[in-house]
């Protein structure tokens, strides 16, 4: 897997290559038994130590020039998200406008990486983006904003494989650049690793487009339902083995979402995967990151764990909705020297 640095376009191996990747590591056919042997052979996670390390990273003091750099970087890494039952075309257009022009008072403000919506609204988002949509922008030599669609019976994942694949195909056909799928937590927790693996592989296949511009696959582990760090670590490895381009913490729909220790743990997995294979997989914490401070702590954790190279949209995203405005307030403060207030940033 190579990174082209354009923001969203990651060249991906085909599904057969992916299967080969797992076959090579497992040194056996992909079955529950071989996956179990592999995943349960991965060193455990000590919860106290992991949380202590995350707390240590959170004490980094990012000031002045570093803070300004970090704030802009955070915006460039945001998947600006609306995932409500009440979402309408109007709401999505408003979100897209915010993604294109986060801060109307400051033309130097960067744009977010992507907007993230339900699959049925992907077409609305693409239409609203117009020339700013990533593929069109890329053709014109710019970066643009990608459209990510959640799929596979998001957020619960409780549907048949056929329904999930139809969900994905629908979003891909509508032009979604990225698919955020959920894993079947029930299958994972009951030890049916092969089923989780095959589902990810099938979704990856469904992400393919005839023009070769495959949709980018983010695999949501829903760590709040896996509960333990050991589970989260195994699920991360499973998703990476099955061909995920990104591993993502959460749907944002359960009580516990992206915590810093979880993000750290997933970054350790992609760092180890890179050491093992030379391939780079992305990480997306989503849900619960609402302040600039939290977001900057995430950047610190990325840079000091996987490396600064990961601080690009192809390898790190933050799924968030209210975060953007807090970052904009902090940016305005950095520019003007004083805090403005909620009425000086736009709601979407």
């Amino acid at each position: 897997m190579t990174v082209d640095g354009s923001g969203t376009g990651v060249a991906r191996p085909g599904a057969s290559v992916v299967a080969g990747r797992a076959l090579e590591l497992l040194d056996a056919p992909v079955t529950d038994a071989t996956l179990r042997r592999y995943l349960e052979g991965i060193p455990g996670v000590d919860a106290v130590g992991l949380e202590q390390r995350a707390a240590g990273l959170a004490t980094r003091s990012i000031k002045t020039t570093s803070k300004r750099l970090a704030l802009d970087r955070v915006i460039e890494l945001i998947d600006l998200t609306t995932l409500e039952g009440a979402d309408t075309p109007g709401k999505v257009r408003s979100l897209v406008a915010k993604a294109i022009t986060p801060d109307p008072s400051d033309p130097t403000c960067p744009r977010v990486a992507a907007v993230c919506v339900y699959g049925d609204l992907a077409a609305v988002a693409i239409d609203a983006l117009g020339p700013f949509h990533a593929p069109r922008a890329r053709a014109a030599g710019a970066t643009g904003i990608a459209v990510a669609a959640v799929a596979t019976a998001f957020p619960s994942g409780r549907a048949s494989l056929a329904v999930k694949l139809a969900d994905v195909a629908d979003a891909v056909a509508a032009g979604a650049d990225e698919i955020d799928m959920v894993i079947d937590r029930g299958a994972f927790l009951s030890g049916r690793y092969e089923q989780v693996f095959e589902e990810i592989r099938a979704v990856k296949e469904a992400c393919r487009r005839p023009d070769g511009e495959d949709a980018h696959l983010k695999v949501i582990l829903e760590v709040g339902e896996l509960v333990t760090y050991d589970n989260a670590r195994r699920a991360s490895w499973l998703a990476v083995l099955a061909g995920a381009d990104f591993i993502k913490t959460s749907t944002g729909k359960v009580a516990s979402n992206a915590t810093l220790p979880m993000t750290l743990l997933m970054l350790e997995v992609v760092r180890d995967w890179h050491r093992l294979t030379g391939e780079k997989v992305g990480v997306k914490p989503a849900g619960g990151i609402r302040t600039s401070k939290d977001a900057i702590r995430n950047l610190v954790t990325v840079a000091e764990t996987a490396g600064e190279e990961w601080l690009q949209p192809a390898l790190f995203r933050i799924g968030a909705s209210s975060l953007l405005n807090d970052v904009l307030l902090q940016r305005q403060k950095a520019r003007t020297g004083h805090y403005s207030g909620a009425d000086y940033v736009t709601i979407d």
């Binding site: 000590d46 130590g49 992991l50 202590q52 390390r53 020039t65 970090a70 600064e308």
Partner: protein, 482 residues
């Protein structure tokens, strides 16, 4: 610009206003010392911070007399709950002045501000709070009803955790009704003198705590003073021996907390990322100036290469530099003398054939600095595997079986601490059982709590500090000492 080049984030020194010179703290007041004053410096810049008095024998005599008077007339007559009130008050004042104390500690010692701010000073307060609670409960200390204080305690503390070691010594001594003459380390007297100001603020009766500054001669005067009932010392094994000889055959009770050469044992089933963190914390915390530092890494041979590779990668993210910067991980070595010792021992390590590695690291020009260093291919016979380096230097050895790990871990004259990293509970318990070390950490390292006793086996000393056990060093059963 690289994001990882974090902009400077220095803690402000404005909160700290040092006097140009400090006297000795005797009988509740700062008084001049008879010895020649000396300048205490910041080891990070070699900048002078303040003039410090030196106590000679006559000064020590005055301090002991003040302590004796305070013991006889005031402190031994106070109820436990009243002693506790003073200790609670001191604890709260430490918290109130925490930032100032952290800045002073970092300036004078060279340790990173994040350590003095997040570990040292909070623990100092915790120690006083903890022993404040004991002051009126001494009947339950396991020494029978109505245990008695010993009298005047002479306490000598090291430079690696200046204020924390002061708290470890003073809090249990006062809680159990003793009075104190304390000598801080020559290179790090500042926070002890700020602490003297806190005692004045707390209205502690004069003479209950006396602080005499100076070098080895001052410490010797405290140890040899005939009216001292108890000596508590933390420092090197060599000085500990000298003190033991000096107190032998006297009525003085003695506790010693001396050097260490702790083994940090990493098994092949360890939670690997957390183990790496623990190894880093074990030896690079406080520049390795920790008597219980995990200076010998014993790693199971089948994971040696992976552990070393991960460790190296992690070390490249450590930040060495201005100790006052909030992002600094490795500060300055405390003194030129200590730096010289670290250099000498690491040179010996190379001569003995071990492979030396340090991450790319720019050392500041002024001050005393040593890059974090690891040695691979170390044998149990190497000097760097046997002698306490007391610096940011890790010696890596391998083992094959738990039995061999235990044997190698114990194969040292020291026995202060050890660490075990494994996911298997039964193995952890079995190995811990076989280790001759006062503290055994499992899947963590360098964690301290006032409720937990700390102390050594063998040449690491005797006596325990912290917890209920720590009170025994300052109490005698009723009827024992009057």
């Amino acid at each position: 610009m690289s994001f990882l080049d974090y902009a400077p984030a220095p803690e402000s020194r404005a909160i700290l206003s040092l006097r140009p010179s400090y006297g000795l703290f005797v009988d509740g007041e700062f008084v001049d010392g008879n010895g020649p004053a000396f300048t205490t410096i910041s080891p990070a810049t070699e900048e002078g911070l303040a003039e410090i008095a030196t106590a000679d024998d006559a000064d020590v005599d005055r301090a002991v007399a003040a302590a004796r008077k305070a013991y006889d007339r005031v402190w031994s007559k106070l109820s436990g709950s009243d002693r506790g009130k003073y200790l609670f008050r001191i604890a709260r004042l430490v918290q109130e002045r925490a930032r100032e104390l952290a800045v002073a500690e970092t300036l004078n010692n060279g340790k990173p501000i994040k350590e003095s701010r997040d570990v040292d000073i909070p623990l100092v307060a915790a120690w006083f709070f903890y022993y404040a609670g004991w002051a009126d409960k001494l009947d339950h200390a396991g020494l029978g009803a109505d245990p008695r204080p010993l009298g005047v305690a002479g306490q000598i503390i090291p430079w690696n955790f200046p204020l924390l070691m002061l708290a470890w010594k003073i809090a249990p001594a006062l809680a159990s009704g003793n009075t104190v003459v304390l000598k801080p380390a020559e290179t790090t007297p500042l926070t002890a003198l700020l602490f003297a100001e806190i005692l004045q603020q707390a209205d502690l009766p004069p003479g209950v705590v006396n602080i005499v500054t100076g070098a080895g001669a001052t410490g010797r005067a405290v140890v040899r003073h005939p009216d001292v009932d108890k000596i508590a010392f933390t420092g090197s094994t060599a000085v500990g021996r000298e003190i033991a000889r000096a107190t032998a055959g006297t009525r003085k009770r003695l506790t010693l907390e001396l050097g260490g050469k702790a083994a940090n044992i990493v098994f092949d089933d360890a939670p690997i990322d957390q183990a790496i963190e623990g190894v880093v914390n074990g030896i690079f915390y406080n520049q390795g100036h920790v008597c219980c530092a995990g200076s010998r890494l014993l790693v199971q041979e089948n994971v040696h290469d992976d552990v070393v590779e991960r460790l190296k990668q992690r070390l490249t993210t450590l930040r060495l530099g201005d100790p006052l910067d909030k992002n600094t991980d490795i500060g300055a070595v405390n003194s030129a003398a200590q730096l010289e010792r670290i250099r000498e021992l690491t040179a010996a390590g190379e001569e003995e054939g071990a492979t030396r590695w340090s991450p790319p690291c720019v050392l500041p020009e002024a001050g005393f600095w040593f890059a974090p260093t690891i040695f691979t291919g170390v044998q149990t016979s190497s000097r760097i595997a046997r002698e306490e380096i007391f610096g940011p230097v890790l010696s890596i050895l391998t083992f094959r079986t738990p039995q061999e790990a235990i044997a190698k871990a114990n194969n040292t004259p020291y026995g202060l601490s050890a660490g075990i990293w494994s996911d298997k509970g039964s193995r952890v318990l079995a190995v811990a059982d076989g280790l001759r070390a006062g503290v055994v950490w499992t899947n963590t390292f360098n964690r301290f709590d006032p409720a937990s006793p700390f102390g050594g086996y063998k040449e690491s000393g005797y006596g325990r500090e912290g917890g209920k056990q720590g009170l025994a060093a300052y109490l005698a059963p009723s009827g024992g000492i009057r």
